[in-house]
């Protein structure tokens, strides 16, 4: 065992010698050079006199497994629909921020989990390929079955779970019938968002379950205005990404300093064009033009964390029945 671990160990980089290290558990895409991570790291290190280290992976399973022994000081990138389990672990400490004046479409009163961005689920299409996109959720359900959509599995993808709750909130007890109508149009169900989105851009599917902000990427980065989010009058389901400090942190000051920084304009301005989502606290006039000009839904749907947790399993069973065929 020893002999074969040694060459591999040589690959691991030595830990940095700095004393003040803020360890942040983050979703994988955040820390990549195309995500918001590098800007966040640079911005924070400019004033914290510390070394910010992102540790990427599946945040929640990992920290639940590690418990209080976790080396994490802050978690960054938890999702709204799984906070019940995160909270129940008792691993997280209050953020101590005033959340009365957020730029969110929902009221935010959570004293542990602090949103730093948000968006809504939406079906995205390419107007050059789809002439008559459905104008409402009802339209989508009634569309001919050769309209093909790709969605994500709610058991492995957070956006897939959001779709589950979206349908539940729009259709309530009629959700099974809604799924029965939607199922024949679902080309395939993928593990995560990226596989779905890839199928959509390859032209395999007419619509993809994504976010209202997705078209902004194509406009800003590719100068391609043809990708659109279909806006439904029934409303769109709210999703935010959250940060929280770990109660057992050995760097409580640094962790708090980071939490204090999240809602500042400096931090918030990095979000839209790196994370392709909307900032949690920034006046609309300070948003990049491409985000300001995106069509906005009139209605935002959202379940409280307890409702979401209670509905998760029954809604999943309805979904499974509709797709098991």
């Amino acid at each position: 065992m020893k002999t074969f671990l040694i060459p591999a160990l040589l690959l691991a980089s030595p830990a940095l010698a700095q004393d003040r290290v803020l360890t942040i558990y983050a979703s994988d895409y955040i820390a990549s050079e195309w995500g918001p991570g590098p800007k966040i790291e640079e911005g924070f290190e400019a004033f914290c006199d510390c070394d910010l280290q992102f540790v990427t992976g599946d945040i929640l399973p990992r920290i639940l497994m590690e418990g209080e022994g976790t080396p994490a000081d802050v978690v960054f990138g938890l999702n709204t629909d799984v906070t019940a389990r995160a909270r129940a672990s008792g691993l997280f400490a209050p953020h101590r921020q005033d959340t009365t004046d957020m730029s969110l479409p929902v009221e935010w009163t959570d004293d542990i989990f602090l949103p730093y961005n948000w968006g809504e689920t939406a079906f995205v299409y390419d107007e050059t390929r789809l002439d008559n996109p459905p104008a409402s959720f009802a339209d989508l359900l009634e569309a001919p079955d050769d309209l093909k959509i790709v969605i994500q599995d709610p058991r492995s993808s957070i956006s897939g779970l959001a779709l589950l709750l979206w349908v539940k909130q729009v259709y309530g007890d009629d959700a099974p019938e809604a799924w029965a109508k939607l199922a024949p149009k679902v080309l395939t169900v993928t593990r995560g968002w990226s596989e779905s989105y890839g199928l959509f851009t390859e032209g395999e599917a007419d619509m993809v379950l994504s976010y209202t902000t997705s078209p902004a990427y194509h406009i800003a980065a590719e100068d391609d205005p043809t990708k659109k989010a279909a806006i439904f009058p029934e409303g769109h389901y709210f999703m935010a990404e959250l940060a929280a400090q770990v109660a057992s942190t050995d760097q409580p000051e640094l962790a708090q300093q980071f939490m204090d920084w999240i809602l500042t304009p400096e931090f918030q301005q990095t979000i839209p064009l790196a994370n392709w989502s909307l900032p949690a606290r920034l006046p609309v006039e300070d948003w990049p033009e491409v985000m300001r000009n995106l069509p906005r839904p009139d209605k935002t749907l959202f379940y409280s964390e307890d409702e979401a947790e209670a509905l998760r399993q029954p809604a999943l069973d309805e979904w499974l029945r509709a797709f098991a065929g």
């Binding site: 994988d28 990427t56 599946d58 497994m65 492995s156 199922a183 395939t188 169900v189 989105y197 499974l320």
Partner: protein
Amino acid sequence: MGAGHAVAALLTALILGTLGAVAWAAGGLSVLTEWDWRALRFTLWQAALSATLSAALAVPVARALARRRFRGRGLLVTLLGAPFILPVIVAIMGLIAIFGRNGLVNDSLRGIGLPEMSIYGWQGVILAHVFFNLPLSVRLILQGWQAVPAERFRLAASLDFGPRDIARHLERPMLRNVLPGVWLAVFLVCLTSFTVALALGGGPGATTVELAIYQAFRFDFDLGRAATLGLVQIALSVGALLLARRIAVPAGFGTGMDATGAPPGPGGWRRGADALVIALAAGFLLAPLLSVTASGLPRVGALPADVWSAALRSIVMAVTSAALTITACLVLALAVARGAGRWVEAAGMLPLVASPLVLGTGLFILLRDLATPQQMALPVTVAINAAMALPFGLRALIPAAQALQADYGQLAASLDLKGLARLRLLVLPRLARPLGFAGGLAAALAMGDLGVITLFAGDQPTLPLKLYQLMNSYRMEDAAAASVLLMALSFALFWLFDRGGRMDA
């Protein structure tokens, strides 16, 4: 023999110990849900069908390749191995480009007015599994063919044997020996299949057990259910292994000097049929690769520096994994050949049936007090990948090692050839081919692995992880380019090792 037992014991401890650690962390095993049982049924059904199709289709391809000589044959044999070592995500992109709604096949079907085929749903899972495993089956069966001494075929020719007689006296006994192992290997690969089912399965109707394990981890954070499912998966696979032991009959072909070639294959219509079989297999296996290459190649040069450093990291990890696999493979195969007992061979096959997710999580739980996840990320990934590639290497190596022992064991003993001299003069030269194959497989599988690294990740992403980051940042074109790079590197590593083993061919 001591080393063989030690490696086998280490493997058993790794596989069962990690499962135990997960169960222990969960405080016991959980009851399975209705959906888990459905997943179990689908898993068994698709694995059996995929294995049967792969093995059956591989026989004519392997025979055609074994008895025909043509320019570029060696290259083609190597190329046909490509799908098996392709990172799943890349392969699926390629399959969709050919068999998808807008793919080549459906475009052609539409063009001549025929109904379209769908790659999504269970048929997509089967298609992808055959795509991945046909090359493995062809390689293993082809090795079986090549293990028949050329003298036998020449003897058959001098006795005026027709193709039927050759089939009866030489080929069928060899296939009886090789096919159960091939079928089993494919069956086991498909038993633990995960990404394929998720990308092409089309939903809960095509959920596999490995996928259910992933969901138990991710969605429910139910370690107990994950451990139960991991146990069920192992039980299934061990059952299949035991079954295969009963039907496998070793064939004794006697010793041969492989300096002289076999006589040419039969002529007439069989020549045309062989050509057609080879062409069809090449088309099916290579078209998706060509399509991925065509769409990604133009941008490879423009990939950011991060992608290249991730690629370098992946290469080092892959080569380390391969070295581990070759060493462990050799030790185990020699022990099995000297009659070390079934459990040594079973231990060598065990990684095939283990869930990489359970393995990774178990190691994480076991090692968390010794090292941080970041420190663990790369070594654990290397070790797990080396273990996961072991069964494939063993499948190719054990028959060769057994033949070596049967044919040269007494001679070597009478010459008192042992230790390093025996290794250098007898074992390594005679086993170079399967060893090169094992190393190549290990390197390529490690290159494309994404499962284990996502659990640990850290700040040192591998190339497949970078590919996902690109996709998650909407950069689908860069992701396509990174796929080409990943494919090229996996392939180059396999080729280098495999070529190294086939220097005499």
